[in-house]
């Protein structure tokens, strides 16, 4: 495990210098601010587009709608941005050959994977935490507080789904070469998961449930028990994806 701290610091500096940290923070903070506002303004926006003869009766937006909007934004656009930012997480170092020198100087290969994972995890957690805090503040200011069961659990689910994406990206980058193939493989894997959702009975086990049932968990529309199953399955997948990356990268010729 030699060189973990040094490589970890190098990763963080690289995220800062390549503007990736800035983008991720800005985008997630914007989502955190935008979602409550969008929820608040939705009736006005829709009423301006009233088709003649049809009156749209939109119920007054509530606390739930604000978080519903937040989960919708983050599980779609947020995850897309996450994929783009971390798409080249290992593959770009491999395709540019920047790792060869470091590995030759005695940096352990396990340290590379773990440091990359740790840096990505910290960046994702920080941006997500900012988004959630701002979302919370704006929502409290704009809406009356309602008792929200499982709100924290819903937020946790989306966070875990983000980690799931990060580890799958890391694993795909060790499995295939090329600057963007890790990104493509991960997108393909997510596409396969979406297709699998059409098979009845499988959706309760799919990690995708963590990103799609968040709003439902708050209102009680989604089954909490199923979500807990999905959480455990995702945790197992995350750990095994990390283990696969460690093993494959150890044997990979660079």
């Amino acid at each position: 495990m030699s060189g973990f701290t040094a490589f970890f610091k190098k990763e963080i500096v690289e995220y800062l210098r390549s503007y990736k940290a800035l983008i991720l923070l800005c985008v997630f903070i914007i989502f955190g601010m935008m979602s409550p506002l969008l929820a608040k303004m939705m009736p006005d926006i829709l009423s301006h587009q009233a088709i003649n003869g049809i009156t749209l009766n939109i119920p007054k937006p509530t606390f739930y709608d604000s978080f519903g909007q937040f989960f919708k934004n983050l599980s779609q656009m947020g995850m897309a941005v996450l994929l783009l930012i971390f798409g080249g997480v290992l593959s770009q170092d491999l395709s540019k050959g920047t790792l060869i020198m470091l590995l030759a100087k005695g940096l352990s290969r396990h340290a590379v994977i773990l440091a990359k994972f740790a840096a990505a995890l910290i960046l994702w957690t920080a941006s997500y935490a900012f988004a959630v805090m701002i979302q919370w503040g704006y929502t409290l200011y704009l809406f009356d507080k309602l008792p929200v069961p499982h709100l924290f659990f819903s937020l946790f689910c989306l966070w875990l789904f983000g980690i799931f994406i990060l580890t799958i990206l890391l694993m795909s980058s060790t499995l295939v070469g090329g600057a963007y193939s890790g990104l493509f493989l991960t997108t393909a894997a997510l596409g396969a998961l979406i297709v699998c959702q059409f098979i009845p009975g499988t959706d309760r086990f799919s990690p995708l449930a963590l990103a799609s049932d968040n709003a439902g968990l708050m209102t009680g529309a989604a089954n909490l028990h199923h979500a807990v199953t999905a959480v455990w399955i995702t945790v197992i997948l995350i750990v095994s994806a990390l283990a696969v990356s460690l093993v494959v990268f150890k044997k990979k010729s660079i």
């Binding site: 390549s18 800035l22 983008i23 601010m33 506002l37 009736p43 080249g88």
Partner: protein, 66 residues
């Protein structure tokens, strides 16, 4: 019925953040001559026309190596 003007103080931070992204991207575009693909005009148009997505795509795909 909420007036847009009531929410304006809350909208300003969003606009400021989006401007930060756009301006950082524009500064980077004008300071560099080579991009991974595309040319200067393409990236300026992309960054200005697509809020949020434009700067993200530029920094991920368009930014050449320093």
């Amino acid at each position: 019925m909420t007036q847009i003007s009531d929410l304006l103080p809350l909208l300003i931070p969003i606009i400021v953040l989006e401007l930060i992204l756009v301006i950082t991207a524009l500064i980077h575009i004008f300071r560099h001559k080579t991009y991974r693909f595309g040319n200067r005009v393409l990236w300026v148009v992309l960054v200005l026309c697509f809020q949020l997505i434009g700067p993200v795509v530029y920094f991920i795909f368009g930014r050449g190596d320093d």
